[in-house]
Symmetry: C2
Subunit: 269 residues, 2 copies
């Protein structure tokens, strides 16, 4: 176990060690760069009554919603992605929504947990960004230490029951010559959003102004670069919020669940 509070030592810690710190409230910050090589995940917690529609929604929209874990109703343990972990305490920060409205931001969700809740983990862009970096591809918002820009598009998700809405995308600008490699590298990870859903012309997918993202920070796009758009995990949250489900709990943006899985476990094969 690395000494308490030694931030620089955290990247060397195992997923289990890092989760234990979060459980103790010792790591309230974002998770980018932690436990490198291990897959991080989006968290969505919903009542069982809505879980069926959510499962079907994810099945119908695997690019924005690549489901890697469904807990047993009432159980906060992700038995596949991190046996022994507790999804009520092992993330640094949560958001609690009631009937579509943000009600609270919490560092644990013990007091919100009920036996009818189901937790879902969805693969996250950190996995394919790591693969891009290993391939020598630039990841602009990481270079600039900013949040990735995200946009609500005119692409529609395939609906499921009460759940419907637009595909939300994240954008990373790339030199034109690097686009094919970026497509191949990220396309290897169908459980982490896979290949881009769109390349170039933002207006073709309903984005009027690249410099004004709906979430995250405005991008820096250089001359000779093209915007490349990947389906984004925020889609699932946006859809459940729009459906005004009684209760939805998610990770706070950038404060992901760190799994025991390797990034490679989210690859095809």
């Amino acid at each position: 176990m690395t000494p308490l509070g030694d931030v620089r030592a955290i990247p060397e810690a195992t997923p289990g060690e890092i989760r234990l710190r979060m459980r103790r409230g010792e790591w309230p910050g974002p998770t980018a760069g932690l436990a490198l090589g291990h897959a991080q995940a989006n968290l969505v917690v919903l009542p069982k009554a809505v879980a069926y529609d959510f499962l079907v929604f994810c099945q119908r929209n695997p690019k924005p919603c690549p489901l890697i874990e469904t807990t047993d109703p009432g159980s906060p343990e992700p038995k596949f992605a991190a046996p022994g972990a507790d999804l009520r305490t092992d993330l640094p920060r949560y958001r609690v929504y009631r009937r579509g409205r943000l009600e609270a931001e919490e560092t644990d969700i013990i007091k919100h947990w009920t036996p009818d809740l189901v937790a879902f983990l969805l693969g996250c862009s950190f996995t394919f960004e790591s693969a891009m970096q290993h391939a020598g591809l630039p990841v602009r918002h990481l270079e600039d230490r900013r949040n990735v820009p995200m946009y609500v598009t005119t692409l529609r998700c395939r609906p499921a029951g009460a759940l419907h809405g637009p595909v939300v995308v994240s954008m990373r600008p790339l030199p034109l010559a690097e686009v094919p490699r970026a497509i191949l590298v990220t396309g290897r990870y169908p459980w982490a959003h896979g290949a881009p859903v769109h390349v170039g012309d933002p207006e073709a997918i309903g984005i009027a102004d690249l410099s004004r993202p709906d979430f995250g920070d405005p991008p820096r796009v250089e001359r000779g670069e093209v915007p490349v758009f990947w389906a984004c995990g925020v889609t699932s949250q946006a859809v459940a919020r729009a459906a005004k489900v009684d209760l939805m709990i998610t990770h706070a943006p950038g404060h992901m669940f760190i799994t025991d899985l390797l990034d490679e476990d989210l690859a095809s094969g």
Copy 2:
């Protein structure tokens, strides 16, 4: 529309034309080789009460159970894989199970259909076998015009609710030198079982005698060849049958649903 009964003309027909013939009862036979280039699918129909567990089971076991469609409860239309098709009539042959027992074999399931049923389509090995053939790899049971041999293994599925059981695999023997290429070629199709789950030593996965498969025909394995095992869609049926669900309807073996999707739509990317 090709003339009635002209079997040789069928491979040139579109998926929609072939389904229409099946709907009219004009094509009761197996579907191998039909609508080449288009993905065929396993059918599993279950009451909504079991559908939640089945969805979670597929999410937890994507290699044997690669889910490509979930219909809305009561609707027999696979809106994604074949808009306008009717899953009650558009397969050549069905099997009806009640409480785990085979009750009937039918050429349509109109009289069994109720508003609480959900139909699931799962990707099928025909997709990756076609890719193997395009890559010049031998597919032994096709060369020999036999059924693929299938085996119940000691590999366990991750359980979901009432559903649990062993992974069933199909086996194709390959010259050792061809194994890497077969892994790469089939690994491109995560929605059609993906890469093999095991190569070589059958006993390591609980198969005592390769020459006595649990389903299908005994294989011909030549000197210098190694058995290669892929997760098989029969797994999902075996698991639902073992759970003695009130009603399960499946395609009859080899009598698949022909989708409008291309094989390539089941690839990663």
